[in-house]
Symmetry: C2
Subunit: 211 residues, 2 copies
DNA sequence: GCTTCGAACTTTAGCATTGAAGTCTTCAGG
DNA sequence: CCTGAAGACTTCAATGCTAAAGTTCGAAGC
């Protein structure tokens, strides 16, 4: 019944398209003229500087590395969830329910907000996950407008499995960083995150200082 | 002719769903019981630790901050490209062509690999962009199997506009980091990126050491 | 009590993407 | 030449998403 069988093109959602991105270049290590070979970070930044005067290469290094890294990580997560016959989209739902804590219940609307998609999309996603036995869906009898999505035992176990794989991967990923470096990195990223969250950019891209 | 008009729900592709994610919480700062309010990073990590024994909170801090940050940034980029009547998807194509350098030409297949989507999707995307005048599409007369996608003047100007906005945003984002910190951050991220790229994870999520 | 409004979810139509099949061109043999 | 195979792109059916309309329930006003 393997619905997701590591097709190396899958992961329909959750940064849908990325799975493919990582595999293609490595087919022919020799042929220099024909195999495109994704440009390295340095090449990319050099090109940007060439075409756009006044770009700060240091800033661009941070931003571009961040984006690429995140993409690669999502590809990795996609492969892992695929081995559990799951998509990253489903994993995201499991995560939200687990973070909510026992009794692992949330409404579709709230889930939709958390995951950043429309309520309509959430309806369909819950349909699928319910038919796979990862969650249950039932009306709230106390307030019959609402619907309660609840994690099943199987859903929880799937989350634990996925988490186990993810944590191994993440530990391996950070292997080359010392404990001190990890702390610095986490702290700096958190600081950037706060900056984005506290101050929403207006249309000009400038962050509004709220503090 | 404004096709993209800052609808706060748009950005069909390029991490499609994220645009919505950033807006919802801030409606009612008072109501504590009813407004879900996305859990903070600390809450999320605490929940993971509660439900999954043996998780390294430091690692999780890095990974989770990275993911959230990237999401928020993509929302910001989406808003900016929207003001240029563009989607992030189109911006990605422009970027690839600019990085290729003069004469700003690439084949659809190569573009598809770069952006991590299927050739079929690329065909349609090029259709749209050609009809908007951002690129041209023509058969390579020297090798009539191939197709050449070329950036138009307008496409280049759009890229420059988008880049201008993006660079302002990025500079603002990193404002709180000293030059030294920026260097450290970029260096660490690059190191992580190299680790992911050099060693592809197998199904167990373990990175294969290639060095 | 009836109506009206709003909230929460579902349904519908349209679009972008995937995966598979199809078309067209080139090249290598026979 | 003609044929077969491989490559590059396109076409087609199905999937998952968004936006907008629809449905159902609950709460407030008259």
């Amino acid at each position: 019944m393997l619905k997701f069988e590591a097709k190396e093109y899958m992961a329909k959602d959750f940064n849908a398209n990325e799975v493919r991105a990582i595999l293609p270049g490595m087919s022919e290590p020799s042929d220099a003229a024909h195999s495109p070979a994704e440009p390295s970070l340095e090449e990319q930044i050099a090109a940007y500087q060439r075409e756009f005067q006044g770009l700060d290469p240091q800033v661009e290094q941070v931003v571009s590395a961040l984006q690429r890294l995140n993409r690669r990580m999502n590809v990795a997560y996609g492969r892992q969830t695929a081995t559990l016959n799951m998509s990253n989209a489903e994993w995201e739902v499991l995560k939200a329910l687990v973070v909510a804590g026992a009794p692992y219940q949330m409404g579709p609307g709230e889930l939709a907000k958390r995951l950043g998609l429309t309520p309509a999309a959430m309806t369909h996603r819950i349909d699928r996950m319910a038919s796979e036995g990862l969650v249950t869906r039932e009306r709230d009898e106390a307030n019959r407008v609402r619907v309660i999505v609840e994690l099943t035992q199987e859903g929880r176990e799937k989350w634990v499995e996925a988490m186990r794989m993810a944590s191994v991967f993440e530990e391996d990923l950070l292997q080359d960083l010392s404990t001190e470096e990890r702390g610095q990195l986490g702290e700096m990223l958190t600081r950037l995150l706060c900056r984005v969250e506290d101050a929403q950019p207006d249309a000009d891209g400038r962050l509004n200082d709220l503090d």
